[in-house]
C-alpha cells in the first residue's frame, strides 16, 4: 500500500506541476478510439463577475486548446494488449492534439476503463485527541481503515473518503474543526488489475509523457454525464464503451461503487459481422448508420445494400440485408449487455438508493431506441446522457462517446480528495524517530 501511496502522490505532484505550467493533456485510451485533448489552465480571473460566469466547479478555469481522436488498435476490453500498436495510436492522438494546440504537452492524465475493477467500502474510526477534528485526524482515520485482502497484484485506483461521522453525526462531507470524541470515515476504494495499470504507465512513458494521474473511465463518465442533482441524490452512470461497459454509482457527489461488464459495442459489431457475413468495417457502418433496437413493419422492407467494394473479393453478387435482420442481431446482444449491467447494479445495491436514476452514456448509447430497451431492463428512470459542455471543446467531441474524456478533464481541474491527498500519519512515515523525539522533547521540557 505504501508504494502505491508514494506513486499516487508523485502523480499528484506531476499534476500540480502541469497546472503550474498551464498545460495538461487528457488521454482516453479506449477499446475503439483514442482521444487526446489538451487543456489550458488560465487560472481564475478569465471571466469577470459581470460575465455571469461563476466558478462552475472549476470548469471556468480551463479551456480546450487541442483535441484529436483516432482509431484505437491493440486494446481489448479496455486493456492494452499490443503495446506497440497502442503506443502508435497514442502518439498519433497526442501529436494531433499538440499540433492543434501549438504547444508541447508533457503531462497526461489517462483513463483506464477495463482491467477488472473491484469496489470496496472501508470503514475506519479513531479517537480524537484534541477534542476536535484536525487534518491529521482525518489522515489518521483514513489510515485506520481496515484494508481487506485485495487479491494478488491489485492496484488501488481511487480511494476516496465518501462519508465522515463525528460521534453520532453522520453524513459530514468536511469534518474539519468539528468538535467530538470519535471520528469515523467511510472510504470507497476501487482496485484494478496491476498489470493493466502497469501497461498503461508503460505505454504513456514510451510516448515521452509523464503520467499526472489515472482515473477510472466509469467514474469520469459519471462526473461528466450526471448533472449535479443526480450526483447528489443518487444515480448510476452506465458508460457503454466499445469493449467494456462501465457502471458507477454516485450518491452525495461521491462515487460509491464502480464495476465493469466486459461487453460492449464491439461485440455488437462482431455479431453483425458474423451474422450477416460482412466485413467488420461494413458491420460497424451498418451498426452506426442503420442500427436500431426496436423493429417496426417498415424495417422489413428497408433493404440495405451491403455489396462489398469492387476491388475486394467481389464475386459479382449484390447483397442486401433488411434493417429488421440487423435489429434482430443487435437487440439480443444489447439486451445481454444491459442484463449484465442490471446484475452489477443489483450487486451494488442500487435498489436501496433513494433515487434510482440511470444515465446511459458512452459510444454505444447512441443506438436508436436504447432508452426504450433500457427502461424495460434497468427501471423507469433512464435517460441518455451527454457530457457536460466545456469551454473550447469541438462539436464532434461533445458526443456521448467522449464522456469519459470530458469527465477526466473536470477531474483534472477539480479533483476529489483522495486518501493520498492527506499527509500520511507520522506513525507510517519514515521520519518517525525524529518526529517522536521532537514531540517528546516538546512535551517534557
Amino acid at each position: 500500500m505504501r508504494d502505491l501511496y508514494e506513486a499516487q502522490r508523485a502523480m499528484r505532484q506531476a499534476r500540480r506541476a502541469a497546472m503550474a505550467r498551464g498545460v495538461l493533456a487528457v488521454l482516453d485510451i479506449g477499446t475503439s478510439k483514442v482521444t487526446c485533448i489538451v487543456l489550458q489552465f488560465d487560472g481564475p480571473g478569465q471571466f469577470r463577475e459581470s460575465d455571469g460566469v461563476g466558478p462552475m466547479a472549476g470548469q471556468s478555469s480551463f479551456r480546450v486548446i487541442g483535441q484529436f481522436t483516432t482509431q484505437s488498435r491493440g486494446v481489448r476490453y479496455g486493456e492494452i494488449e499490443t503495446m506497440a500498436e497502442t503506443e502508435h495510436c497514442v502518439r498519433h492522438a497526442v501529436q494531433g492534439a499538440q499540433k492543434q494546440a501549438g504547444v508541447r504537452v508533457d503531462h497526461v492524465i489517462a483513463t483506464i476503463s477495463g482491467a477488472r475493477p473491484a469496489s470496496y467500502g472501508l470503514a475506519g474510526e479513531i479517537a480524537l485527541r484534541s477534542g476536535k477534528v484536525t487534518e491529521e485526524d482525518v489522515a489518521a482515520a483514513l489510515a485506520a481503515c481496515e484494508v481487506p485482502d485485495f487479491g494478488r497484484n491489485r492496484d488501488v485506483l481511487h480511494a476516496q473518503p465518501v462519508n465522515f461521522a463525528v460521534d453520532a453525526r453522520s453524513g459530514l462531507s468536511d469534518p474539519r474543526d468539528i468538535v467530538g470524541d470519535r471520528l469515523a470515515v467511510d472510504m470507497h476504494v476501487l482496485t484494478i488489475d496491476g498489470f493493466a495499470a502497469s501497461n498503461l504507465v508503460q505505454c504513456v512513458q514510451r510516448c515521452d509523457l509523464e503520467l499526472a494521474g489515472v482515473g477510472s473511465a466509469a467514474y469520469a463518465a459519471g462526473r461528466a454525464a450526471l448533472v449535479e442533482d443526480e450526483q447528489e441524490l443518487g444515480a448510476a452512470c452506465v458508460d457503454m464503451g466499445g469493449g467494456v461497459t462501465g457502471v458507477s454509482l454516485f450518491l452525495k457527489k461521491h462515487m460509491l461503487f464502480a464495476d465493469a461488464v466486459r461487453m460492449g459495442g464491439d461485440l455488437v459489431t462482431r455479431d453483425i459481422s458474423a451474422g450477416l457475413r460482412v466485413p467488420l468495417a461494413t458491420a460497424e457502418w451498418l451498426k452506426t448508420r442503420h442500427g436500431g433496437l426496436e423493429a417496426t413493419n417498415r424495417d422489413d422492407r428497408e433493404m440495405i445494400d451491403v455489396t462489398p467494394e469492387r476491388d475486394e473479393h467481389w464475386d459479382g453478387e449484390r447483397r442486401t440485408v433488411s434493417r429488421a435482420d440487423l435489429i434482430g442481431i443487435m437487440r439480443p446482444r444489447v439486451e445481454e449487455i444491459l442484463d449484465g449491467v442490471r446484475e452489477v447494479l443489483e450487486v451494488a445495491g442500487f435498489d436501496q438508493m433513494p433515487s434510482r436514476q440511470v444515465v446511459l452514456t458512452g459510444g454505444a448509447s447512441q443506438i436508436p431506441g436504447l432508452d426504450g430497451l433500457a427502461m424495460r431492463i434497468l427501471g423507469q428512470n433512464v435517460r441518455i446522457g451527454r457530457p457536460l459542455r466545456i469551454h473550447g471543446l469541438a462539436q464532434q467531441h461533445t458526443a456521448p462517446c467522449h464522456a469519459a474524456t470530458v469527465g477526466l478533464a473536470l477531474h483534472a481541474a477539480n479533483p476529489q480528495d483522495e486518501w493520498w491527498d492527506f499527509e500520511m500519519p507520522v506513525e507510517r512515515a519514515g521520519v518517525v524517530g525524529l518526529r517522536r523525539a521532537y514531540r517528546w522533547f516538546r512535551n517534557n521540557w
Binding site: T70, E85, H88, R91, V94, Q95, Q98, K99
Partner: protein
C-alpha cells in the same frame, strides 16, 4: 409447368451459355497495397515534440539562419583578395561621394578679424582648399581656434557655393598688466589678449601690476572707474601680496586699500581729498587698510614743518635728526626709532 419449360427454352435460346473456363484461369485478385497505419513514427513524434519546444523552435528559426549567414560571410571574407576588394570598393565609393562638386569648399571668408588673426586662422585650417567638406571637422576646428588668446568666439559655417565662413569675435584689450615676465594686454575678464613690448604701445589703457592681478581685473577696472578726479594723476594699480590693491599716483603718493570692500575705501579717500585737498599736500601714503582707522604718512617737508613748529630738531630723508650737535642727534634718532617701532 409447361409455361416454365417454355420460358426456359426461350432463355436458353436468347442467352448463349457462358464459355467454359479453364480451372485456374480466373484472374488473381489484385494485390492490395498494405494500408499504412496512421500516426507518426517514433522519430517523427519526437521531432515534432522538439519542434513544439519554444527553445528549439527559436534556435531553428533564428539561430540557424543567423549561423548560415555568418558562415557564408565568413567563408567569403576569409580570402585576402576579396577582403581588400571589398574595403577598396567601399572606400572608393565613399571617396566618390565625398568629392562631389556639391560638397567642395573652395574659399574661406573671415569676418571681424584683424589681419594678424586672419592670417592665423587661415594657417590653422587643416586642409588645403579646395577640399571636401567631409574633411573639415568644423567643431574640432572651432575648438582649436578658440584656444587662441586673441579670439573670444568664432563661428564656422559652410555656406552654399563652397564658402567656409568664419565669424570671429576678438577679445577687446581693456587693461595692461605688468608682471615679472613682461607686459600683457588683458580683456575685461582678465583673459590674456596679447603681449606688448612697452607701455607706450597702448597709452590709453590703464595699468595694473603685481602677481595675481589678472584674476581681479574686474575689481581693478571698477576702482579705476571710481578714481575719476584723480585719474590724471593715476599711474596704476598694484596688487600687493596677491591680496589687496594699492592705488599709485604720481609724486610718489599711494593709497593703500583694504582686502575687503576696496571701492568704498577709495571713495572715502577721494572724499577726504575733496574736503581737505589731502592729495595736494605733502602726504606720501593714505593707509586705509583698516577702514575704521585711516592713517596718513606725511612727507619729509611736512614733518619738518611740524617739528619746527614744535621746537624739535628736523630730520633728514633717512629719519636721522639734523642737529647742530652730533651727539644730540644720535640720541634723538634712537628715540625716534623707538617711537616708530611702538
Amino acid at each position: 409447368m409447361s409455361g416454365l419449360k417454355h420460358l426456359t427454352a426461350a432463355f436458353s435460346a436468347a442467352a448463349p451459355p457462358a464459355p467454359a473456363r479453364r480451372p485456374g484461369a480466373r484472374p488473381p485478385p489484385a494485390a492490395r497495397t498494405a494500408r499504412r497505419e496512421p500516426g507518426p513514427s517514433r522519430l517523427a513524434y519526437r521531432l515534432n515534440r522538439l519542434w513544439l519546444t519554444p527553445f528549439y523552435r527559436r534556435l531553428l528559426r533564428i539561430g540557424l539562419p543567423l549561423l548560415l549567414v555568418a558562415a557564408v560571410t565568413g567563408l567569403w571574407l576569409s580570402d585576402e583578395t576579396r577582403r581588400a576588394n571589398l574595403t577598396g570598393g567601399v572606400a572608393a565609393l565613399v571617396e566618390n561621394i565625398q568629392s562631389r562638386e556639391a560638397f567642395m569648399v573652395r574659399k574661406m571668408e573671415i569676418e571681424g578679424a584683424s589681419p594678424a588673426v586672419d592670417r592665423a586662422l587661415r594657417a590653422m585650417l587643416p586642409v588645403n582648399l579646395p577640399a571636401s567638406s567631409f574633411d573639415i571637422e568644423l567643431r574640432d576646428l572651432r575648438q582649436a581656434v578658440e584656444r587662441l588668446d586673441a579670439i573670444e568666439k568664432v563661428e564656422f559655417r559652410i555656406r552654399p557655393g563652397g564658402i567656409l565662413s568664419a565669424v570671429v569675435v576678438e577679445r577687446e584689450p581693456a587693461i595692461l598688466w605688468r608682471h615679472a615676465r613682461g607686459l600683457d594686454l588683458l580683456d575685461a575678464q582678465g583673459h590674456r589678449v596679447a603681449s606688448v613690448t612697452s607701455r607706450e604701445v597702448r597709452r590709453d589703457l590703464p595699468l595694473i601690476a603685481g602677481e595675481g592681478a589678472a584674476r581681479h581685473t574686474g575689481e581693478a577696472l571698477a576702482l579705476i572707474d571710481a578714481a575719476g578726479p584723480i585719474l590724471p594723476r593715476l599711474r596704476g594699480l598694484e596688487r600687493v601680496g596677491e591680496r589687496r590693491w594699492d592705488v599709485v599716483l604720481d609724486r610718489g603718493q599711494r593709497i593703500m586699500l583694504p582686502t575687503e570692500r576696496p571701492l568704498p575705501a577709495l571713495r572715502r579717500a577721494l572724499a577726504m581729498d575733496r574736503e581737505d585737498a589731502l592729495l595736494a599736500r605733502d602726504v606720501t601714503v593714505i593707509d586705509l587698510r583698516d577702514p575704521s582707522r585711516p592713517v596718513l604718512r606725511m612727507g619729509l617737508a611736512a614733518q619738518n614743518t611740524l617739528r619746527r613748529a614744535a621746537g624739535l630738531p628736523e630730520i633728514d630723508a633717512d629719519g636721522n635728526l639734523i642737529e647742530p650737535e652730533e651727539g644730540g642727534a644720535k640720541t634723538a634718532a634712537a628715540g625716534n626709532a623707538a617711537r616708530r617701532g611702538g
